[in-house]
């Protein structure tokens, strides 16, 4: 990495509308053609010229460093401006930053991935890694929740994963009408269906904090201990390298000690209401 505070210019190679409010940018460096190496779970700071900078997880394949992929939900000033970018436009990138999903530590264990909404984007690199190295893992279970069938992110890709015989993929939605033949209910309900050995499972959970809270509970109910559960946290960020303190979460800085935490390490702070 060069100076971590100076954004490197990247060119938008492709844009894709994923959902009504969610899009994917594929980026390539302008100044050099060095591959962009990262670990599943890490994030970049994306700088839109004249607008501002935001942390966004990398959602591409860590095995293919030739293209940098970010999937973003448009929620405010910077992400709205990002959505307006077109093929050929430039964007500044700092990163990659932060900790990663325990894809190596999980080798030899069952893996349960529980996610909802756009939380699938930060987990997708871990899923790619696990699929590429499928033989190194026990049972692999992917549980995904979305508001409606129309809000399912990466739907075609999920269908592809589902068609494999060596991964158990379940999707559920909060609301649907008669044409939907899948599950309706919360993602925590899927956790209770099992398909993994709780004492030999590593769970990776990503989504809004409310979702993660109930998913951790559901995993605990199944017998998965907190030192086998990993979550990805979000806090507002500025420097992304542990200087400014913007992202402080209890004793930890989310940018440097996270965003991926083993749950037992943050359990106490996770339940503090105003943190």
């Amino acid at each position: 990495m060069n100076d971590p505070m100076i954004p490197a210019p990247f060119r938008v190679k492709r844009t894709r509308k994923e959902l009504e409010d969610t899009f994917t940018l594929e980026l390539a460096p302008i100044r050099n053609s060095r591959p962009f190496h990262f670990s599943a779970g890490q994030f970049n700071m994306l700088y839109v010229h004249g607008v501002g900078e935001v942390p966004i997880s990398i959602s591409g394949d860590p095995g293919d460093p030739s293209v940098l992929v970010h999937t973003t939900r448009s929620v405010g000033t910077v992400t709205d401006a990002m959505w307006k970018l077109k093929q050929g436009d430039t964007i500044g990138i700092r990163g990659p930053f932060g900790t990663s999903w325990p894809v190596v530590e999980a080798e030899g264990s069952d893996v349960v991935i529980v996610t909802g909404g756009i939380g699938l984007a930060p987990l997708r690199p871990a899923i790619y890694h696990i699929i590429t190295n499928r033989k190194r893992y026990g049972n692999v279970v992917i549980l995904y929740g979305a508001r409606t069938p129309e809000d399912i992110l990466y739907r075609r890709e999920i269908e592809r994963w589902r068609s494999r015989l060596d991964i158990d993929v379940e999707v559920t939605v909060d609301r649907a009408t008669g044409h939907w033949a899948g599950n309706v209910g919360v993602v925590t309900k899927l956790v209770s269906r099992g398909g993994f050995d709780p004492s030999q499972t590593v769970a990776m959970v990503c989504g809004p904090e409310i979702m993660m809270r109930y998913c951790v509970q559901a995993l605990n109910d199944q017998g998965v201990a907190n030192d086998r559960i990993y979550v990805s946290m979000e806090r507002n960020m500025k420097c992304a390298v542990g200087f400014c303190g913007h992202c402080q979460f209890g004793q930890a800085f989310v940018c440097k000690d996270g965003p991926v935490f083993r749950f037992d390490a943050i359990e106490r702070d996770f339940y503090v209401r105003e943190l």
């Binding site: 405010g76 909802g116 909404g117 909060d174 919360v186 990503c206 989504g207 809004p208 904090e209």
Partner: protein
């Protein structure tokens, strides 16, 4: 007789009935019958008399609310092993939703009229059943609340 035995096995294997005495397990099994529903057919419909509850052996069921001239709204789905239906417990014993098989679905249905009589005459049995149905109701309510709050859209994620 063969059918009765397989229902007794199912009852014994389902965690919902775990811990019930042999006597009660037999009682419940005696009220059970195997049924199967083709995809798209209804196990029950809103307003109908709730005289059964179900354990899904295999398949899927959508609990849904019909709306005239439009697609029904699916509230929740039930899958293998799930317990379905508690309106048989609450007067005036009417179903509040439709239950539609999403695929070929095999269930054991339990005759609530026969069970209600036994629950009334044996309060200990009634209590054992309450202890099992209340957590199911609690689970469903919790799920319904989480479904209501748009859990996956909260904040930026």
């Amino acid at each position: 007789m063969v059918e009765l035995k397989s229902i007794a096995d199912l009852v014994r294997d389902n965690p919902f009935f775990a811990g019930l005495s042999e006597e009660y397990l037999e009682l419940i099994s005696g009220c059970g019958a195997n049924e199967s529903f083709a995809a798209g057919s209804f196990l029950f419909r809103e307003g109908g008399s709730a005289d059964k509850f179900y354990v899904i052996r295999h398949g899927g069921v959508a609990l849904e609310m019909y709306q005239p001239g439009r697609e029904p709204i699916i509230l929740q789905t039930r899958r293998d092993g799930d317990i379905m239906g508690w309106s048989w417990f609450i007067p005036p014993y009417r179903w509040e939703w439709d239950a539609r098989a999403l695929q070929l679905t095999r269930v054991v249905s339990f005759d609530a009229i026969c069970l209600r009589g036994k629950l009334e005459s044996d309060p200990a049995f009634g209590y054992e059943m309450m202890k099992r149905f209340i957590p199911v109701i609690h689970d469903r309510m919790k799920a319904a609340r989480l479904q209501m709050i748009d859990m996956y859209g909260g904040g930026a994620r």
